[in-house]
Symmetry: C2
Subunit: 253 residues, 2 copies
DNA sequence: CTCATATATTTGATATATCAGTTAAGGCGG
DNA sequence: CCGCCTTAACTGATATATCAAATATATGAG
């Protein structure tokens, strides 16, 4: 239908900028705005636990620390709230979100559901060159292990999963996984690095890749579930860590 | 790192409101703020296609229409952008997002992965009373069909899936599904209501529920996939609808 | 008449000001 | 000394003002 509330007839130039689809192929809002900078910064600080769960998040302090006004800071905080990383209590205060205990196993279950599909489809569709790319990533894992570089190891790990989703033809799967796993990432910062984990992870990734290369969806799914299932165990026991960092319920999102 | 910028030593009352976890069990930010009202309203208008894909979204017009300032309107629009319902082109304009063509099948695939797990777990854990509740929901579907009430039918449909996720023990699954399916919902508004769809949907839901009641995870998963797989077909053929409402690429999240 | 440039306008991004609800401390009465 | 009420300070929510980039329209040269 038309539209037009009431007197908008003469007000609308009609042919004026009706579609940003010509020269702009995609990717709106990519500019490095102040707000997104603050958001990225705060997000990183929260995920890395530089800011402790339950800790108050003073808008004013952030404002001063970064030398910007409250508007972009507020924008960043609102987005963090949508991501479940901060809790805003309307006229009371804003706090770094506690890690939702039940939300952890839920996140892992969801991730398994998503990445099982990812592995299956990747196994069905993988081309030879794609397999080689992923093999290179696994090699990066080995190099990172040898160098004892945990950060590089983690980066390659994530790259592996992202690439698998891409091979499956649905990169959105990895985007969703990233969204879901964020609280688990925070949790893992609290636990001591397990001995031999890197070696185990490398072997699991190689097993997944082998199944994918062999175009064996069932086996790929099996190894993926085994790989992620290990998380379940580590997530189940929340003792020995500060219980003040946790909240009972799970997040709705 | 530690924390404490510089001169905060004497500034921090330390024992002042350090955790809103005592009297506030959960649910931060539930207040009906102006911003969330606008957001809900705009969201509804976009999903119902009252606002057409590609249409400009004038911040000023909304401001005047609702009699509020630009701040809450902007806040609402930013959230819509995060949800993928609007595209913001920084110094150019804001537009109702086009429906991502490839994103549709991706959304269905993701939904199948999630709800298959949902159905499986529900079948494993269902109690008798839970089954009865869901059977009542299916009955609501039949009543809505008889009354020809599409809105009620749709509401009961969603309630069915939400309840299944709850039975599975992971309500977050449904929350995720809702987030993912939103573009599909928009797409379906564009297509004519198919003859006999209601009847088919009822039967599929009943089949899922029967499998759940029989504690047969594999069969529950099978019927759930069959149920959602029907979406794939309807999503694949995007002809006969205004191609101007669609965008080529898929969305990130 | 066509095209390039200049100007005016629109818009989102940011800064600042104001408002109202909440919290916690302080004072008053019991 | 204890409890209720008042008050003061703080916070997030909203309103308003300003800024700079991008687009459209007007304008003038060719």
């Amino acid at each position: 239908m038309g539209s037009a509330e009431e007197d908008s007839a003469e007000r609308r130039p009609l042919n004026r900028r009706l579609a940003p689809n010509s020269g702009n192929p995609a990717a709106p809002n990519r500019a490095p705005s102040v707000a997104s900078t603050i958001h990225a910064r705060l997000r990183s600080e929260i995920v890395s636990l530089a800011r402790k769960p339950g800790e108050p998040l003073a808008e004013k302090a952030i404002t001063e620390a970064y030398g910007v006004s409250r508007t972009p800071v507020r924008e960043a905080i609102l987005r963090l709230a949508d991501e479940g990383l901060v809790d805003i209590f309307p006229r009371s205060g804003t706090f770094v979100a506690r890690i939702p205990q039940h939300g952890l196993s839920e996140a892992v279950v969801i991730r398994m559901a998503l990445e099982e599909k990812s592995a299956r489809l990747a196994a069905e569709r993988a081309t030879r060159s794609q397999v080689m790319v992923v093999q290179a990533i696994v090699e990066q894992l080995r190099e990172s292990q040898a160098a004892g570089d945990q950060a590089a190891f983690h980066a390659a790990d994530e790259h592996f999963h992202a690439t698998l989703a891409e091979m499956a033809g649905y990169p959105g799967i990895w985007a969703l996984v990233q969204q879901v796993k964020i609280q688990v990432d925070r949790y893992r910062r609290l636990t001591l690095p397990q001995e031999g984990r890197m070696q185990r992870v490398i072997e699991e990734h190689q097993a997944i890749l082998d199944a994918v290369a062999a175009h064996d969806p069932d086996r790929a799914a099996l190894h993926m579930n085994g790989h992620l299932g290990a998380l379940i165990a580590s997530v189940e026991d929340i003792r020995h860590v500060n219980p003040d960092y946790f909240a009972g319920g799970g997040h709705g999102d």
